[in-house]
Symmetry: C2
């Protein structure tokens, strides 16, 4: 964040350097290495979508050298198994109903442990900056002056799409891809108009509980009820299921097939390319509705 003082100086941070600029002065820009206030460091690390093979090399190394790993509930068991036994471990799995308070407590924990001199890895499902609240933890760290670095992870959309053989962009089908979060609580507040439809792929994270409302919302926004949709359950794991239908059937599919969380919903023409089990909705199978089962 850039700040201005009374003498016309702007202060800001660039690549761990503290900078001061004064457009009116000759020596208008000076930067210096920040003095760390403790030997500790905080790493906001993406754990990827579940499969431990999809960790980055950097993330895997950081897990080995950490003093403390603070992880949430979306991090796969296989990833947690890579943490050496001597490394301290704290789970901060969030409860849905108490998001805000919990996040503040997590921020405090991260800052406190880092200030105590530890190498702290905050391990988050997927990517820290895509629906991961990494931005809030980064803010807290910056405000407290602790050294912090962000390590990206494979986001669920990329991991699930790869497994399902479903290209998120394709020259024939989609030149734009958008990610949104579909928790019930926020759904009515969110403006998704224009994100799905011709030439576009829409990926909905955490949308399972609101699947029917999501389909209704998109159709009300003008999206064709016949647009293909893929639902990827437990993506990137050996138990993954890839189901496909049409937008209008999304809510029914989720109920009928008893799809469990975590699951990703992908809406758009590209969904028709997935290596998926067609569940009633696909045009060629529409006539077979109610006679064709997805179980196997």
């Amino acid at each position: 964040m850039t700040r201005k003082d009374g003498r016309g100086n702007f202060t800001f941070t660039v690549r761990n350097k503290a900078c001061i600029a004064n457009p009116g002065a000759q020596d208008h820009l000076r930067c210096m290495e920040k003095t760390p206030i403790s030997a500790g460091k905080l790493w906001l690390v993406g754990a990827g979508p579940g499969d431990p093979d999809l960790l980055t090399l950097r993330a895997a190394r950081l897990l080995e050298s950490a003093d403390l790993v603070v992880h949430d509930g979306l991090v796969g068991e296989g990833v947690l198994a890579l943490i050496p036994t001597h490394v301290e471990r704290i789970s901060v799995a969030k409860q849905r109903s108490r998001h805000t308070m919990k996040q503040e407590l997590i921020n405090e924990l991260l800052v406190r442990e880092t200030l105590a001199g530890k190498q702290v890895v905050r391990l988050k499902g997927g990517d820290p900056f895509i629906f991961g609240r990494g931005g809030e933890e980064l803010d807290a760290a910056r405000k407290s002056g602790v050294a912090v670095e962000v390590v990206p992870g494979i986001t669920a959309a990329a991991g699930c799409a790869a497994q399902a053989g479903l290209p998120l962009t394709h020259r024939e089908d989609a030149s734009a891809v958008s990610f949104v979060a579909g928790q019930c609580k926020d759904l009515t507040d969110q403006d998704w108009s224009g994100l799905a439809g011709h030439g576009r792929t829409l990926v909905i994270y955490m949308g399972l509980a609101a699947a029917t409302a999501i389909a209704d919302k998109l159709i009300a926004d003008g999206v064709s009820p016949d647009l293909p949709v893929a639902v990827i359950e437990r993506g990137t794991t050996a138990d993954a299921r890839v189901l496909r239908t049409l937008l209008t059937d999304l809510g029914d599919l989720v109920a009928r097939e008893e799809v469990k969380s975590p699951a990703l919903i992908i809406v758009g023409a590209v969904a028709a390319r997935a290596d998926a089990l067609d569940c009633l909705g696909a045009p060629a199978l529409a006539a077979a509705k109610r006679e064709f089962s997805c179980d196997f």
Copy 2:
């Protein structure tokens, strides 16, 4: 792809099993392991955004066990250095003006070498399914019947955002993030309306050459000229530069700072959170325009 024959049978593929379904028959669904037509296998592998530490564990292992690596020009030198010397290597760096022809030749090469029994790694910058043409290579492999698997990679947006401390989503600023490609050729054909603006983050890949046209296009679509923009040059490398301005100044910034490819453009309120050098445009510095230099 689902296909229907004259007897009412639908055939399709699920998780490497060939399936046949007939909604009218009692034994309505049967699946069997596909018989591979050669011992070779094709892996479409994301190399990530440049930094070799951002390769996935699976990608790193595949490079070591491959017979042949076919890579494009966007794969970083550090990643290529991880390929053992005994592994055959072919560069298929594309020329901008001959995309279509080239892609077909690449598809043929991949299929031919895999049919010859090799373990072929097709190494692509970023993620294979986000502006990576992985879908086309997957189609070619499926049509030829060769075994194929897709391994996701860290896409440039996630890698650059992590380095710049720029959350792509943030509870206060953006609940949706979209990726588009900004090559000149396709720009006029593309409908980006609604992808940038209030509550949304828009990431533009390969948009450097058309930066001015991109800003004009967005402003013509109703996006505020004062929306923050970050430009990340050589993201995830040690030479990275993160520059920030307002949308209206985007084209000038790119010219003034002589930003070189590869560079990523991120448009939205979250850009104001980046650990960036403010280049004229940010509100607090707007008054200093033309007196404040980005060089350092």
